[in-house]
């Protein structure tokens, strides 16, 4: 897969770097190190410079995404409604910093500038589910819904979702 993604770009042409990185991210969900190493050799650019570009732009990820992506709104309205506390609560509950993915790859924690749901601030969003007017106390309850299903309950198709 890596070969195909990279091979469609001309050899030794550094100017294709950003579209190439975007394609790699589309194919893998993030930028794996071995694929970037291969890409570096292909376009004739040091890996250190590619790493520099990949870390400069927010759109690129260097770690795989978790199964569930938690977005914490840190926009103005949510900030006024104490979203900093919500973020801190999530960081503590998951032992993650924004941008990180849990070891079991179940959760990725992210911060966004404004989710566009200011009327229910403070708001977090897990995958496509929105949780508005939440408090730190509710965090554990919400996260529980996304914990991996225990083996005996595999027959349950998907956890219930409150919108």
């Amino acid at each position: 897969m890596a070969n195909q993604t990279i091979a469609q770009y001309p050899k030794g042409d550094r100017s294709v770097l950003i579209p190439l990185l975007q394609d790699i991210q589309d194919a893998f969900g993030y930028l794996p190190e071995d694929v970037l190493t291969e890409a570096a050799a292909h376009i004739g650019m040091p890996l250190s410079s590619i790493y520099g570009v990949a870390t400069f732009y927010n759109q690129f990820r260097l770690t795989p995404l978790g199964k569930n992506i938690i977005r914490v709104c840190r926009g103005t309205a949510c900030h006024v409604k104490n979203s900093a506390n919500i973020l801190f609560g999530l960081e503590s509950a998951l032992n993650l910093k924004p941008g990180q993915t849990s070891r079991d790859k179940n959760f990725t924690l992210e911060v966004v500038s404004c989710i566009g749901a200011c009327s229910i601030a403070p708001v977090i969003c897990i995958n496509d589910d929105y949780y508005g007017r939440i408090t730190v106390k509710e965090i554990d309850k919400i996260l529980k819904k996304y914990q991996p299903t225990p083996a005996k309950a595999t027959s349950v198709k998907s956890p219930e979702v409150t919108k």
């Binding site: 190190e33 970037l36 650019m45 040091p46 890996l47 250190s48 410079s49 590619i50 790493y51 520099g52 870390t55 400069f56 260097l62």
Partner: protein, 572 residues
């Protein structure tokens, strides 16, 4: 020509010159941080800003070309204020541990803080926190001290063409680092140390061995000996305010004796030995149809580069150990026996112009009977600290002679420290090995000088020998591509990783002055010129060594002690 006014002075400048260059040509100093002579300006640091009449903003003089009638102020209150703010911002995001910093009193940030009279903490914000990368045996990387001028990145990318480090992240999180912020030891870094020479602060520095050496010197059971590389004698004086290119060999010897070294030997002796073995290896390769061209292997940065990037040319690398490793091997065998010493009690310290030599000395294959040939490597800069600590006034030291028998050398060995020197020395002896006669004119001008790639064709009897000299690792790739394509015309290629050779090595005194490098080079050629013997095979001590111990070049003993092998480090 363009005429402009700088600080009320009429200045004539060439068209295309920058304001900075024009100011410099009339002795007006403008401070810089990111500026690097001969490289395209980045204008990143804004230290060099000047006021130009008619321009709304201050202009970066390093990047702005002169125009006719331009009126420039390099030291107006507005300029001073802007520069001071830049320094203040840099200082506030810096550890400010000058008292315990290795670059104390030799730091560009410290100098600028003094020059612009930074006397208070005006910006008390958050500071970056970074850990020091001590993963490599030769170099340390301390991003907390980095001011992001980018000079190391440019040396690594544009001059050495390695690209081991680059900027990553953005804004406050910006940092110069390796891919994935890993240790230098697992990066593409060859540890040449050119970035250390380029760094204005102590963000990049050598891994210090002073503690180990100091402990060894204090150990009564150790017979601690020193050996001095060819290039150190022509540079160390600079650290004691002597002009660049002062030959301080005699003072170095007496100084090292005063530090407590039992014997002081000359790596030049082993350089002569290297030449005998290498010339013999070259002739054997030609006669036996073995891989050609042969590459020199004196430069451990080059060897590491080849192992990591071009493992397919490992058979082309000369199997000869580098001179200081040969010297160590002879010290722990021939010399130990002669002196009745247990090789385990001998502690060999190499004084080197080089950071990679530290890595090289730890290579497990460079040793014998579970002993390293060389126990510790000090760079020129570290030795200076030793002298200072001992309170030795270097300039007042008397001149003394090296100890024998590993202290005798020829002019051919002296020039090992400069690009083209190893090749020139090898040619002098190879000519003799092939034709049985001595070369009349021993100076080979085609391979001297600072060009990136130098080449020469020499007639040796019936043989026509083509040689090339690669000056700086950044110029080596095209020659390797030629070999891989089967079109290389050469028999013998010298590679030195640092531009100019060891004389400009990563362990040398830190001065941002290219003219100094030329003066250092001339000093080495001067030593050669003044030498009584200028051909390695005329070294009497070497002749005795072969007669008493090694028998002949390439003998079994020579192979065991003086030759080595290499590893594929490409990870492919």
């Amino acid at each position: 020509m363009v005429e402009l006014t700088i600080n009320n002075l009429k200045v004539k400048a060439e068209e295309g010159m920058t304001i900075l260059e024009a100011a410099k040509s009339v002795g007006i100093s403008v401070p810089t941080l990111c500026y690097m002579k001969n490289l395209f300006p980045t204008g990143a640091c804004r230290m060099c800003v000047v006021e130009v009449t008619g321009q709304r903003n201050l202009l970066p003089s390093c990047a702005f070309p002169v125009t006719e009638g331009m009126v420039v102020e390099t030291n107006s209150p507005r300029v001073r204020r802007a520069r001071k703010t830049i320094v203040e911002l840099l200082v506030e995001n810096h550890p400010q541990d000058c008292l315990i910093c290795v670059r104390n009193k030799n730091c560009e940030l410290q100098d600028l803080a003094e020059r612009y009279a930074v006397r208070e903490h005006r910006f008390a914000g958050e500071k970056r926190k970074h850990v020091v990368d001590i993963s490599s045996p030769a170099m340390e990387r301390d991003p907390a001290k980095c001011i992001l001028c980018g000079r190391c990145v440019r040396v690594c990318n544009e001059i050495q063409k390695i690209g081991a480090i680059d900027f990553s992240g953005r804004g406050f999180a910006s940092i110069v680092t390796t891919p994935y912020n890993k240790g230098l030891n697992v990066s593409d870094c060859i540890l040449c140390g050119q970035c250390i020479i380029a760094c204005p602060t102590a963000a990049l520095r050598e891994r210090s061995s002073t503690k180990i050496v100091s402990t060894a010197l204090g150990n009564k059971n150790k017979f601690v000996v020193a050996q001095i590389a060819p290039a150190v004698r022509a540079t160390l004086g600079e650290e004691f305010r002597m002009p660049a290119g002062t030959d301080v060999t005699g003072k170095l010897v007496s100084g090292l004796r005063r530090l407590g070294f039992k014997k002081v030997f000359d790596t030049n002796f082993a350089a002569d030995l290297t030449i005998i073995e290498e010339a013999n290896e070259l002739v054997q390769r030609v006669v036996n149809n073995q891989p050609l061209p042969m590459f020199t292997s004196c430069c451990p940065g080059w060897v590491k580069f080849a192992e990591m990037n071009y493992p397919e040319i490992i058979p082309n690398l000369s199997s000869c150990k580098s001179p200081h490793e040969m010297e160590g091997a002879i010290l722990k065998s021939y010399f130990a026996k002669k002196m009745g010493l247990d090789p385990r009690d001998i502690f060999v310290v190499s004084i080197m112009p080089c950071t990679v030599k530290k890595f090289e000395s730890e290579r497990p294959e460079l040793g014998h009977d579970a002993l390293h040939d060389v126990d510790s490597v000090l760079t020129t800069r570290e030795l200076v600290r030793f002298f200072n600590m001992a309170g030795i006034d270097f300039s007042d030291l008397p001149d003394e002679e090296f100890d024998n028998p590993l202290g005798e050398s020829t002019g051919a060995a002296a020039i090992f420290g400069t690009s083209g020197g190893v090749m020139e020395a090898a040619i002098r002896t190879a000519y003799y090995t092939i034709t049985g006669q001595n070369l009349d004119n021993v100076e080979i001008d085609e391979i001297r000088g600072m060009e990136g790639v130098k080449s020469a064709t020499l007639t040796m009897g019936e043989l026509e020998v083509k040689v090339a000299v690669v000056n700086g690792i950044g110029n080596v790739r095209p020659l390797i591509d030629e070999i891989n394509a089967g079109t290389s015309p050469y028999h013998f290629i010298e590679v030195m990783a640092c531009p100019g050779g060891c004389i400009n090595g990563g362990g040398q005194p830190i001065h941002q002055n290219l003219d100094n490098v030329m003066k250092r080079v001339r000093a080495l050629y001067e030593i050669d010129k003044k030498s009584v013997t200028r051909r390695s095979h005329d070294n009497e001590a070497i002749k005795t060594l072969y007669k008493e111990f090694l028998k002949e070049p390439g003998s079994h003993t020579a192979h065991t002690l003086l030759h080595t092998h290499y590893h594929d480090r490409s990870g492919k």
